[in-house]
Amino acid sequence: MIRIDAVTKRYPDGTVAVDGLSLEIPDRAITVLVGPSGCGKTTTLRMINRMVEPSEGSILLDGQDIRQQPVNTLRRSMGYVIQNAGLFQHRTILDNIATVPRLLGWSKQKARARAAELMERVGLDTSLAKRYPYQLSGGQQQRVGVARALAADPPVLLMDEPFSAVDPVVRKGLQDELLRIQDELGKTIVFVTHDIDEAVKLGTMVAVLRTGGRLAQFAPPAELLSVPADPFVEDFLGADRGIRRLSFFPSTELELHTAPVVAIDAGTEKLASGGEAAPCLLVTDTDGKPLGWGAPDDLAAGAIDRDRLLPFGRPFVPGKDSLRTALDGAVLSPTGWAVAVDEEGRAVGVVSQQMIGEAIRAAHAEGRPDAKAAR
């Protein structure tokens, strides 16, 4: 466990970057430091591997002051990932990843074998091994950065805004990849970001820091969203924290209606009878994949005109997606109903905004949200 104990960082010109900060960073979990610029989150991270020395206070790693071991030994035992990856442009991808093992005195052959293994772990094609950083995209470079930090299998990983310089689509991919790697490896990760959505998505624990380097709140993300400690945290979480909190409630409890789901080749009788539960019918193709909504009368009148069906928004997968995704689907659909699909994309039922609303009220009444549903 990393314990930050009453740490203050004051610069010679009088600016205080971190002010009396105390944090207990749990083992084998992702702890996110988040806050506006100037809140000292990066400084805090850099004090853990002594890139910055605190003016007051101490940092303990497994009960031992980090100043008790040589600085480079400490740093080699902690993976370090920074914004823009910071790759060595004169070294191949493989040799970039092999850096720390080589520093630790591994043979070139062993270090490279390990590096190749890590390329696969972070989802990089091994055919890129002999390339140079300039030949890779920003997202690929960042993956190399993560692989390089993991190379010597350090128990601790320090990540300083690692994904903030890539576009949103690539960022989402990298975040999912990090969660997958974390599930496999179970590192103690300290992650700095200014993006509260990223903090909520990745963090097991989230520390919100305020300008001036003081701790505003330290809590699991679901608790942060439901009970912000003060107006600053509330303001920082943004206007839609209620909606965002729904990410932590699973959609498994939703009661799905199957009656309004009809296949395109169903008989007129079936088309006419479906309309009791819902004002519209969800038409699927012969595989069961949703095509769109149609009015029962129109459908019963004769052949279905695919072009006249109403869009069905974005479907959700019950059990995998959260209530937030379900509600989003219902809000997007002009009928006000969300479509549930299985993993293969076949419609398994529909659910109305009202029914989702009831599920939300029930979930709130039950209290604690399910932390796993966020993913």
């Binding site: 890139m51 080699r76 920074i82 442009q89 004169h90 720390v100 140079y132 300039y134």
Partner: protein, 222 residues
Amino acid sequence: MNVLNFVHAFLSDSSHWHGYDGIPTRVGEHLHYTLQALAIAAAIALPVGLVTGHTVRGGNVLALVATAGRALPSFGLLVLLFIWIGFGLLPVMIPLVALAVPPILVTTFEAIRSVDPSPVDAARGMGMSETRVLFQVEIPVALPLILSGLLTAAIQIVSTATIAAYVSLGGLGRYIIDGLYQKNYEKVVGGATLVAGMALATLAVFWLVSRLTVSPGVRRSS
């Protein structure tokens, strides 16, 4: 008067190709002065440039030294030192080294200082010592620029080493000075051509060195 005729006449005269005043001897002497001056200048300027560039300290002092060095007239210095020290290689070496130090020093400092700070930060964060950061991260990336500083210095030395002949030493300057004295323009032009040829050869050598030492990752991305 045709310059090419002079060059042709000078180079095709077989008597110019052997003996103590032959082309091989003079080229050898010139090369000797050049390499010696470049080696001394590099030994002074490279370490200072590398360390100041790495620590980003002393940039102002460096600029001052460089400007002062550039303002020194090589020929004036040579005559002064010759009167002061007397006959020998030393009065020739000092002006040549003084000429070569500023470009090496300033480019090396700038080359190291302008290395992208993020890989340097990553290297430190991964536990590289300062020496390793300099030799394994900064120098490989800064190498093309460092070599260009050395190249500038080398070319300046090649062309300026002709002044050695003024104080009765050898080198290609011998042909130019003797030729002027003897009003033998064939010799003057021939000597000047050889100096130009050596400068081009220097360029070729540096191009080759840079091909062999600069990583393809750096060459292509900068």
